[in-house]
Point group: C2
Chain length 338, copies 2
């Protein structure tokens, strides 16, 4: 049975939502758990779940936790027994196959980066987030692991993102777009203009710059950008969808006719929500490292945690890290021979 290390202390609703979601995943999807965090807190929380005893579950004591407001680098140095760090070490040492955390994203990136090795040919890891588009899901990376990027990092993201799209979305020939402020290669900032030139000869199916407007229209299967831009993109989107729903509900409930319309439209809203809700995907893998870490949304609900842990187990079974390593190595070879 695949065993997944879970950072029980990471997330706005930790440990309760994390443990509840982990137990759901373990029971429904036949997954073993390594719950990492303060042992007494975890045991107390497990006591509230009568079914927990039927699950293949171990606890790994890690008395410290990194709070959302702490600067990642100094917290990581000061807290060698932080749950996220202990969990990453457990994966490195073979006690679990991979890791899930819904905690401090910067701390999780730092822990994975410090504990796992980088894949050959990769200088910086990237968070690869699956986003819905009008056609089919696409991958956006980096969505927050590497906020300062050089052009060659974006090229590596393009190669890794293509490999990830093959594994995660079954997309055999992913079209790679570079997120910029205009379609023409002369548009953009220094980073994107230089990256554009490198991508033209990179071993990926590069379709050119994509503007923000085209991210959700499905013009590309892999959208590449620096981690600052990617993170802003995702959070803007999340906030905007919430705002649009709120405004629409205001309008729909403001008259009798539309109130009826609203009632009738509820199912439609529900299905719509399912298509854009982050918790359906659950998390984003940090790729480019010799170890798998999936990072969930800070606000993860039990359902989001369950889905994310299911994603981790699936990627373990499908050998995501090995396949990424192979494809990055192949791309590297192409580059050195051309």
């Amino acid at each position: 049975m695949v065993r997944i290390a879970v950072d029980a202390m990471g997330g706005d609703h930790a440990p309760d939502a994390i443990i509840a979601g982990a137990l759901l995943a373990a029971r429904r999807l036949q997954i073993g758990l390594l719950l990492v965090g303060a042992r007494d807190t975890i045991e107390r929380e497990l006591g509230r779940h009568p079914g927990a005893s039927s699950v293949d579950l171990e606890i790994l004591d890690a008395p410290d936790r990194i709070e959302m407001a702490e600067p990642a680098a100094s917290a990581f140095r000061r807290k060698p027994l932080a749950s996220i760090r202990v969990a990453a070490e457990a994966v490195r040492d073979g006690k679990a196959a991979a890791l899930f955390s819904a905690g401090h994203t910067g701390a999780a990136v730092m822990a994975a980066h410090a504990v796992f090795r980088r894949l050959p040919g990769v200088d910086r890891p990237a968070l690869a987030t699956i986003i819905p588009t009008r056609r089919r899901p696409a991958v956006l990376l980096d969505s927050g692991a590497t906020v300062e990027c050089r052009p060659q990092h974006l090229v590596q993201f393009a190669v890794m993102g293509s490999a990830y799209a093959r594994v995660a979305l079954g997309c055999e020939m992913p079209r790679v777009g570079l997120l910029s402020v205009g379609e023409e290669e002369s548009k953009g900032n220094e980073l994107t203009r230089d990256a554009h030139q490198l991508l033209k000869s990179a071993p990926v199916h590069f379709v050119g710059n994509v503007e923000g407007r085209d991210v959700y229209s499905g013009e590309a299967d892999v959208i590449v950008c620096d981690g600052f831009t990617g993170n802003v993109t995702l959070k803007i989107s999340e906030g905007l969808v919430e705002t649009v729903e709120r405004l629409l509900l205001d309008e729909l409930s403001s008259t009798v006719g539309t109130r009826v319309g609203y009632l009738l439209s509820r199912r439609a809203f529900g299905r719509f929500h399912k298509r854009v809700d982050y918790s359906e995907y659950g998390g984003a893998p940090l790729i480019g490292l010799d170890g798998l870490c999936v990072i969930g949304h800070g606000r993860s609900s039990p359902k989001a945690v369950r889905n994310a842990i299911g994603m981790v187990a699936r990627y373990v079974r499908e050998g995501l890290v090995t396949r990424l390593a192979e494809q990055v190595a192949q791309a590297d070879e192409v580059r050195h021979h051309s």
Copy 2:
């Protein structure tokens, strides 16, 4: 009567949508026009509008135009008779009070920057876009004029954005937020971390970092970022609203019950659209220069052009440039005395 110079050749639907919108504005809002572009093309287009003769209208011949796909800098150098450049020079020379263009944004920024002087205390101009939020409209800048920024540019944007929010939104004490990837001051990239420190002692009401998620929730009245991030933010938003509408309509029309719901909800959709539709605002002023240029969306419809020209005339009457200059100078004085 206020006379506005209009780049008749700029925009995806130029010159027809531009001229139709300009005539609407002129007739309804008592505005004089200086239509700048190829004289024969403009005259032919005017021939299709029988009411045009009742409008206070002059034509300024400018045989060249800058195409959307041209790199702004070289096109600007090679085409001294491009409509956008001739229009800016007309404003400089007092033939019109201000300028509107829905053409190549980079070319418009370059023309205005080259022809007008910068206000004392301003190193880079910014495009200031009004965005809807859950509470009340806010200003986002820079939305695309200056794609590479240094920290002090963001501070100047904060001062200018505050002044603009007072004039445009009647917001007396605008809360300024710095767009970044986390609320804590330690989060972000080098640019935002350095800008955060400078903003803490700047003469604005700085409320700290705002994450993408909070842009549309109304946490700040003025949102400051570099032009690359701002442009991506706006275009992502535009594309996402279109996609959300499309997906919702798919869902709403997929069953009989919801089809009825959809019909009943149409009015609500209409009103919702009015709240998020860019054409209601029409354009974004380029601020920081000693001359007013409002830049419209490339896809501007006649209605959007009419609203944008109305906005230009209002800002001329209210002395936007003078008020911006005064407030930037005041802030500069505070800074030098503290």
